[in-house]
Subunit: 358 residues, 2 copies
DNA sequence: TATACTTTCGTGTGCGCACACGATCATTAT
DNA sequence: ATAATGATCGTGTGCGCACACGAAAGTATA
């Protein structure tokens, strides 16, 4: 009563196993008549190949490429996906799957081009890609397509080109939630600050969508706030940010600050240095510095997009498609995780069990 | 440069593959001298068996038992773990792993005893168990132990007996977080209600820990609240609950209600029927009714313990231990998920992609 | 010494599949 | 007519391992 094998199919069709094998793999050398007959039987008995025996016999090995920004101190963020890749690899390593990284400087277009231009994409069986530069990413994804290598995107999407899968977060909705958390329990009629602290215009779409989402909340609850002011500071320097904040805090009656990316810890530092705990602060991601301020309640909420989980899923999807040759979801939107002082530890323990809390 | 095989080890040790095989499996029939020699070589070359070839050759199949309360309308909660089991099974089915369910009436001790007493636990290779009745569960777990079948618990823990793994949530901390969410932005000096709506004393420990956690928050922030009143209602009837609430609402100046389990939708119904939206309501789990009230903002926050993910991990851990014969974490505490009207949809989509939102 | 028994080990087979090779037969060219 | 060609299909081998069987050598018993 076990699963049906190639041998069984062959017997049912009065042919040899080799012929069935040819049909299954779409190889030539089978007459149309027998091919149809075998296909029908395969269908009828719902033949499912034994993947274990298959990979064992084929001896094939799979190389996946993970292409994403390099981990540098200022962008610790990119160490998280590695954890997810590691976890996925742990689960699928039996199938002779290996991963190679291609890391690029996310502030240097030319670095990305230089590193990808010479790349033999055809050497790989799948690509997991975190796009940063719009046009260059489009070109890269198109190149994957021409050589027939599936390319799954994570973290951010790229418009204008077909991709084989996407795993990310609904940026607009995450910030709309940020609006709710900012508003929750706040007395009406005060001012809020939206702080865009991009180092460059990378992930620009993300940032914009977040600002829109946050504003959308307060457009739907227009009575809740007097002024909703954006402050865009593209420089990285804390002093600049502090200066700008000084000025705004003087002009407005600020009740809360929403930082549209992971650099929320800079705003937290400002609040900490000025000893102001009664200004709400909400931002993104689990930078080490941010976690410290969250624990000391200078940051009220951090919104996480689970970068580990994104990369984990990305690699799993590649595996599903390439090795198992099965369908996988074309688009996955991650849950929008809300983190506070009270649940951050369990979150970190769960997602990074190997790291020691400080 | 491929991985080292049994054959290679055999050659290195000047023995046949059969002998190496005996050493690896700890079978008898090898002299102490050669055994030592082979063990050293295995160690030195860090031999890792090819699981695929192993399971293919052994032809073994694995039967897992999932023992948990049956899904009835009033406890829709228990349909979630099934989703996680299904997902895990999808991933490991290649290894000839199958799952059987043993579902019991969680309000009927005798039903549990009756169904487990005749059970041949030895027929299974692993057990995933959601304990409800304390003493009976201890007995059941002990029985697994005597026949050498690993037993992993999820959802709630059982004291007084050794188990092979646990996956659950920190009940105390989840309610401490509930306290924070209740308190957040609330003006000081009002009253809060803790509502225990257990149908029975099942999961009693859970409930108690949650009450303690919630109270602990306000003991640490004692200036934030005047009265913190518990209301225990073990009956299931809405009318009874409404009556009791009517009385309490008269006595106190209630600003918020914390329901210690999934029956928070009953309190939400009360608020909805009385048209009171300015009372905060926080509870647990993703009952369909509760989600409706969350969407209409009668419930402010739901705390989720990811029952799917718990069961998913449980089965994966069993697989890791039984099939891969590797270590797995003895205890996993789930992240404490915060759900609001604004992020519930993405959460549901991610965890239950097959269900249609209403 | 001959026999029975035990310890120690090598050999062989098969798991289900992928793939190379060769066999068979009909068809076409010479 | 034979030879050559191509289409169609069967057979065999091996992937790395688990496990049964039996061989060889040593040990005990009569």
């Amino acid at each position: 009563m076990s699963r049906i094998r190639i041998k069984d199919i062959a017997q049912l069709a009065n042919v040899s196993a080799g012929t069935v094998d040819r049909v299954i793999h779409g190889r030539s050398g089978v007459s149309d008549a027998t091919r149809k007959r075998i296909e029908n039987i395969l269908e009828e008995y719902d033949y499912q190949p034994d993947i274990l025996a298959g990979t064992l016999a084929s001896g094939k090995s799979y190389r996946m490429l993970v292409c994403m920004p390099e981990v540098v101190y200022a962008h610790e963020f990119w160490k998280f996906p590695e954890e997810g890749v590691r976890r996925a690899l742990d689960e699928i390593a039996h199938f002779d799957v290996s991963v190679e990284y291609l890391r690029f400087d996310q502030h240097n277009k030319r670095d990305f081009c230089h590193k990808t231009d010479g790349l033999q994409i055809g050497d790989y069986d799948g690509v997991l890609f975190a796009p940063v530069f719009r046009d260059e990413s489009v070109k890269f994804i198109a190149r994957c397509h021409t050589v027939g290598v599936p390319c799954i995107l994570f973290n951010s999407r790229v418009e204008g080109v077909e991709f084989d899968g996407f795993i990310g977060q609904d940026a607009w909705q995450s910030a709309y939630l940020g609006g709710k958390l900012m508003d929750y329990g706040l007395s009406a009629g005060r001012d809020l600050l939206i702080l865009n602290l991009s180092l460059r215009t990378d992930n620009y779409q993300h940032i914009t969508k977040r600002e829109h989402g946050f504003r959308a909340y307060f457009e739907e609850h227009s009575d809740r706030v007097d002024h909703l002011v954006s402050l865009n500071l593209s420089g990285g320097d804390y002093a600049v940010i502090a200066d700008a904040l000084d000025r705004k805090m003087g002009e407005l009656n600020v009740a809360g600050i929403f930082v549209t990316n992971s650099r929320v810890h800079l705003a937290a530092r400002y609040l900490a240095e000025h000893g102001t705990m009664n200004i709400r602060l909400i931002g993104y991601d689990l930078m080490k510095e941010s976690i410290g301020y969250l624990r000391r309640e200078y940051i009220d909420f951090l919104i996480s997009q689970s970068p580990e989980e994104q990369a984990y899923l990305g690699l799993r999807h590649l595996f599903t498609g390439v090795v198992l040759k099965k369908e996988y979801p074309h688009e996955v939107l991650m849950p929008i995780d809300i983190l506070t002082k009270e649940n951050i530890d369990h979150y970190l323990n769960f997602n990074h069990p190997n790291e020691q809390p400080e």
